[in-house]
């Protein structure tokens, strides 16, 4: 990296500013000692929370947690300022101290402080009380606090992912809906695998998901309440209904309905159950996804000959094609930040995951391979999750990648996994 001095005379004027740019990009070295247990019984959870935070920040790619073996100082009391020199010595730029204490009423109290080592300042301090079984979630919430305070961007750790769990031999795969924390922990199965399930999508309320299921007849779109386990069919349409997705306000579901050889986009109001047609073309329009402000939507259509991405007003109207690269584009999904649309691109014998701006500019391929598909954005729009099938006798797995194309990571799942959908932040 060069050019930190702009090509201007530095002192042409007496008070001209000296211009500096960063020397590079580097994950921020951060020290996360085990939390201090309030009592000997809190030892396990104190270590566990620190590990959850360490794992989250490390996986983000923006932080480099320092090995605890390098620590000089042992934190025993978080109400006393740490000896900053001890943390400077090991090149820590930030330090997290915390304490986990079981309350007399049985609940768990978590406290943490985030320190700027160089400045010797406390940057954040919070206290939470929760039920003991939610200790991992406390770790995620604290991770988000640290992430937000040090990067200035929203976090994404306190979130969940719904996906299709796949098990059994390839020719007789059992596919079940499953739910887990974004880091792969706390897996729960939502269906038993009797019927084929596809394309689960989270509601903005996080309490409901919508998905497609192949039962005895045509595939249908369902709503499923995660908390109650209850499910209901979305509408009762002739023919197939598929590719459902919630509107940003959670009040409507947009989907494709097949009519003859074509499929078009329809939106259904979940309260009134009224349905509105949005497209009417002799083509296959599918995979709709709303912009976060709800005014526009993107979708996939082969009206131009092969599948491409189009953008149109949410109330219907003329659609504008935005993808013009080689190959075909499918499964578009609008970022929660509104700045990008992610897609699956097929061409040259490869499936790629990429992003482009809503006007079609700035296309960027993030990963390519034999089979990559189904991108879904993290709540902060910075990270994408997708599934990758290496072919052969194996099965698909979940991966995350930064929207810059860096920091690709496999997400641990109990078995094969596909079709992930990331929830909004839980808090």
């Amino acid at each position: 990296m060069s050019g930190m001095v702009r090509p201007t005379a530095l002192f042409a004027q007496a008070q001209q500013r000296l211009e500096v740019v960063p020397g590079g990009t580097q994950a921020l070295p951060i020290a996360i000692p085990n939390f201090v247990p309030g009592s000997p019984a809190d030892g396990e959870v104190s270590v566990g929370v620190a590990q959850v935070i360490t794992n989250n920040l490390k996986r983000s790619g923006l932080f480099a947690p320092i090995d605890q073996a390098a620590f000089i100082e042992k934190i025993s009391n978080i109400d006393v300022a740490p000896q900053f020199q001890n943390w400077k010595t090991i090149n820590a730029q930030a330090l997290v101290t915390g304490r986990m204490t079981r309350q007399p009423d049985g609940r768990l109290q978590a406290e943490f402080r985030l320190w700027d080592v160089a400045a010797g300042q406390q940057l954040a301090g919070q206290k939470y009380v929760t039920s003991p079984e939610s200790w991992r979630r406390i770790g995620h919430i604290i991770s988000d606090q640290i992430y937000e305070r040090l990067t200035g961007e929203k976090g994404y750790f306190d979130s969940r992912v719904v996906f299709v769990d796949e098990s059994g031999p390839k020719e007789r795969r059992v596919k079940r809906l499953a739910l887990m924390d974004q880091d792969g922990a706390n897996v729960r199965y939502l269906t038993k695998g009797a019927d084929l399930v596809l394309t689960p999508r989270f509601s903005p309320s996080t309490q409901e998901i919508t998905y497609m299921e192949f039962g005895q007849g045509d595939p249908r779109v369902y709503l499923f309440n995660i908390e109650t386990g209850q499910r209901e069919i979305v509408g009762n349409f002739p023919g197939m209904s598929f590719s459902p997705r919630f509107s940003p306000d959670g009040q409507r579901v947009i989907m494709s309905l097949q009519q003859g050889g074509n499929s078009n986009l329809f939106v259904m109001d979940l309260r009134s159950k009224s349905t509105t047609r949005l497209t009417d073309t002799p083509a296959i329009d599918t995979s709709p996804s709303y912009a976060p402000d709800g005014t526009r939507l993107c979708f996939e259509s082969d009206r131009g000959g092969k599948p491409q991405i189009y953008v149109m007003p949410a109330t219907g109207g003329p659609a504008q094609r935005i993808s013009f690269g080689e190959g075909s584009y499918s499964t578009p999904v609008w970022s929660p930040r509104g700045d990008y649309i992610a897609f699956t691109k097929q061409g040259g014998g490869q499936f790629s995951i990429g992003i482009m701006k809503p006007d079609g500019s700035g296309e960027r391929i993030l990963t390519s391979g034999f089979h990559n598909e189904g991108p879904t954005f993290a709540p902060n729009g910075r990270v994408l999750m997708f599934f990758r099938d290496p072919g052969g006798n194996g099965g698909p797995s979940l991966f995350t990648v930064d929207i810059s194309g860096r920091n690709e990571q496999r997400v641990p799942t109990p078995g094969f996994a596909s079709d992930p959908a990331w929830s909004p932040l839980l808090s």
Binding site: M1, M4, V5, A9, L10, F11, A14, Q16, R17, L18, E19, V20, V21, P22, G23, G24, T25, Q26, A27, L28, L62, D79, V80, A81, Q83, K88, Q93, E111, W115, D116, A118, A119, G120, Q122, L123, A124, G125, Q126, K127, Y128, V129, T130, S134, R137, I138, I141, E148, R149, L150, T151, G152, E153, R160, R188, E227, G229, R337, D339, L426, S427
Partner: protein, 310 residues
């Protein structure tokens, strides 16, 4: 042959006068004239013309030329005396602003998820309790204050050990030894020379612009901060975010005050960029490339930090 006496007398007188003049003038001592100080390093003609121009901010009346180093090295009488500039740090009687105690969110509800089988979420709210404000002095503030007062006083400088006796060796030509003696430094100006130190900038001569030559150490300063400051990779900054920061220095090149953000950050991202730059600036001090003789020039410097790596 008749000799003209007047001619002889005239010749003799002329010889006498000319001889006296030659003798008397040649024996008179040469007068030395005072010369203006010049840079000791090689400089281009253009730079040479500019070199004594002085600094715009210099006093008009100041007749003494700017001198940054003594022309001929003199033995230092009392080396320890230089160290005395670093006075022991004395903390203010008032306590330093303490970090905030853990207290922030009033009754925030993290509301962790519950298994399906369990009761409804509203049955058992899990609020983030607000920690009551401690009425007493914050122990951390006290500790920080203690920490400040504990800062070590400047160490007495150890006397330099006398150099070991040099063994006289028979001269032997060694190419490598000669190469090592060659000054490989770039032939750039290092400092003005003179017989006495004078840190006050002079107005200089009419044609010079010596101040422009000081860009070299400022470039080195910018380069040093550039090397130390690593972007965090966060954010979605498509555009160039510019953070105006003023740095004030002590004469030894350390910061005399924390880096000052000149405008309120417009959002959390700008604040994070500033704090990242601040960490780098603090961690990288002292900035030894700053010449003490020009302290007035760099005592306070305005910067513009850009978040973009490229």
């Amino acid at each position: 042959m008749k000799v003209d006496k007047t001619l002889v007398a005239s010749v003799a007188l002329h010889v006498l006068v000319i001889g006296w003049g030659l003798m008397s003038f040649s024996s008179k001592a040469f007068e030395s004239t005072e010369i203006e100080s010049v840079p000791v390093e090689f400089v281009t003609d253009d730079q040479l013309n500019k070199i004594t121009a002085g600094i715009k901010s210099g006093k008009k009346e100041n007749p003494k030329p700017l001198v940054e180093k003594v022309a001929e090295a003199k033995p230092v009488d009392d080396a320890v005396g230089k160290i005395t500039e670093k006075k022991a740090i004395v903390t203010d009687a008032a306590p330093d602003p303490a970090p905030k105690p853990v207290e922030k969110p009033p009754e925030k509800k993290p509301d962790p998820p519950k298994p399906v089988a369990e009761s409804k979420p509203k049955d058992e709210p899990k609020p983030i309790e607000k920690k009551p404000d401690p009425p007493k002095v914050d122990p951390i503030a006290e500790a920080l204050k203690k920490e400040e007062t504990k800062k070590p006083a400047p160490k007495p400088e150890a006397k330099a050990a006398p150099p070991p006796p040099v063994k006289k060796r028979e001269y032997k030509f060694d190419r490598e030894t000669i190469a090592a003696l060659v000054d490989k430094r770039d032939p750039t100006r290092q400092a003005f020379a003179g017989d006495t130190l004078n840190s006050t900038p002079a107005l200089g001569t009419a044609k010079g612009t010596a101040a422009t030559l000081s860009a070299s150490y400022l470039s080195a300063l910018v380069s040093r901060i550039h090397d130390c400051w690593q972007a965090d990779g966060g954010g979605f900054d498509e555009q160039d975010v510019k953070i105006p920061i003023t740095l004030t220095f002590k004469q030894d090149g350390t910061l005399s005050a924390p880096p000052l953000l000149e405008t309120e950050p417009r959002n959390d991202r700008e604040r994070a960029i500033f704090e990242g730059a601040r960490r780098a600036i603090i961690a990288c001090q002292p900035y030894t490339m700053l010449p003490a003789a020009k302290y007035a020039e760099w005592k306070s410097l305005p910067f513009l930090f850009h978040n973009k790596v490229d």
